[in-house]
């Protein structure tokens, strides 16, 4: 079943000015539910821009992005926010955790938009922390964590709402080989959970694993066939 359909998507920065820049040109592809897809390319090839469009963080200049039958590029802020909240989990290169809060408080952030009770939230947070293997650090400030631990905290936060889609932007760029391999191990868990995963990366470690279903190569904002 097609879960994500990207059709003729362009993303142009400063479109009306002389320095107009085509970050994405006529991108089209489809991703099945449960598929793990790599967006591969050098820095500036448009991988992160494409992920931010699929995640509803920004809107394409033209073209459509259909996720589970809904054109997310046309959603108003309230519905786009709900889409990010319920259907997408983000894992960022720089982790993007809220400094000053502990692991538990970071993971609870998405849940605070819901009406769940304290005990329901606690159960969901504990489950996400277990999957990401960071439960033992839940009371610790994120600023005191190592890079790998921060990454696992970010994974727990991405999973806590149990979204069907996980988007990871250069998830291993700030990790050593050991922690990068641990992330690839977590991908197997995602696979087992039936998550659809899109990863923007140029890390060769991903090429050596059999958990990846497909690789989309990108160069200068376009797909390379």
């Amino acid at each position: 079943m097609k879960q994500i359909t990207v059709s003729n998507v362009d993303k142009i920065y400063n479109p009306t000015k002389e320095n107009a820049f085509y970050a994405l040109k006529q991108i089209s592809f489809e991703v099945d539910a449960g598929e793990i897809v790599i967006l591969k390319g050098v820095s500036g090839s448009g991988k992160s821009t494409l992920l931010s469009l699929i995640g509803g963080l920004s809107k394409p200049s033209s073209g459509d992005i259909i996720v589970e039958g809904e054109a997310i590029a046309k959603l108003p802020d309230r519905l786009a926010s709900r889409y990010r909240h319920e259907r997408v989990g983000f894992i960022f290169q720089s982790f993007n955790l809220l400094n000053g809060l502990n692991v538990y408080q970071n993971v609870m952030a998405p849940l605070m938009l819901s009406e769940w009770s304290g005990s329901q939230m606690e159960a969901k947070i504990d489950q996400a922390l277990q999957i990401a293997n960071i439960a033992h650090k839940k009371g610790q400030k994120v600023s005191d964590l190592s890079g790998g631990e921060k990454q696992r905290c970010a994974i727990a936060r991405a999973l806590v709402m149990n979204p069907p889609i996980i988007l990871a932007d250069e998830p291993t760029a700030n990790l050593d080989t050991h922690n990068s391999l641990m992330f690839i191990e977590i991908l197997k868990t995602f696979k087992a959970m039936g998550k659809t995963v899109l990863i923007a990366t140029h890390d060769v470690l991903f090429e050596e694993t059999d958990v990846i279903d497909r690789c989309i190569h990108m160069k200068d904002g376009a797909m390379v066939v």
């Binding site: 963080l57 993007n96 000053g100 998405p110």
Partner: protein
Amino acid sequence: MFSKNLIEYAVILLFKDRADHLFSFTIFTFIVSLLSAVLFVSDAIRSDLTGAAQFGPDIVVENTLAGRAYKLNEEDRESIADLAGVSAVEGDVEGYYYFSQQRVWFHLIGDSSLSLREMSVGEGVKEAMKLWHYDDAFNFFSMQGKITLKMVKTESKQTNILSNDVIFMHPANVRAILGFKVDEYSKLLVTVPNPSEVGDITLKIVQLLPTVKATSKEDIQASFRHLFYYKGGIFMILYWVCMLAFLILLKNQISLAYGEKKKEIAILRSIGYAIKDIIALKFIQNAVVAFSAFLLGVLIAYMYVFLFQAPLLRAIFLGSELGRSVEFTPIVDLNLLFLLFVFSVIPFLAFVIIPSWKIAIADMSEAVR
């Protein structure tokens, strides 16, 4: 309006940024307490003055020529008493007596209810006399020799604004000490039963005796109301201090939406927070700070003025040596307090919510990379 979970998370974020919020809280409390203290002091003074004037005569007549006071006589009193609409005219003697040891002036006022050996004094007078061991009685020196009066009563603290430097004594004693003859008065107190006739009669008195100044009760109350109008230089300085502190506060408020906070907003947006949720978070955090700082500021001002009797500020308002013993009556003008709330809390909230909203509506994809 806001979900319980969102309020809880706003409080968690508030504690996370407690250093920034503590700065805002401290400055805001300082501003509110300073302004509230000024309001409380001026309200208490105005209330005491207008309250005291309420029980005064309908018209007070004084004889002034080229700005100096002259005595009125029995003939003047009788001519005013003959005016239609006037029910009574009472001659009053009062004036100032210099207490050279302490270098202060006492205000002597005639009061027929006191005997020839008694006097009733204001708090300031009592303290000044006590410093020179006049605990129960005081010796006045007059053209007729020494007059010793026993202190039988101290005036109510609620009327201290007016009675602080006052000594009430039998009119005969005032005459003796200040050198007034039996048919001479310093003031004439006119009673007019019909309030609507007071204006006309005031005018008639001035026509009858062109050198006199006739002041109605309403005029006296109006002058009291304007006495502590917030225009004086010292108040302007206080207000400028508050304005400067408020600008520093607002700058700090804006910074709560930029820098690291800008990224924080982008992170929250990326995990599903809508623009309204971001605004709600910022509103809750800053409303907690603003409301608690406002309440604390008002409480501090209340205690400072009415419990500790406004040290430092009282000298600005009352000035005189005797003014030290004035006790402020607890009066709170809720309308002014509400205005202070509106003009402080709303800008405080706006200066963090508007920048936060501007950040929240921007493309967040670059900020979270």
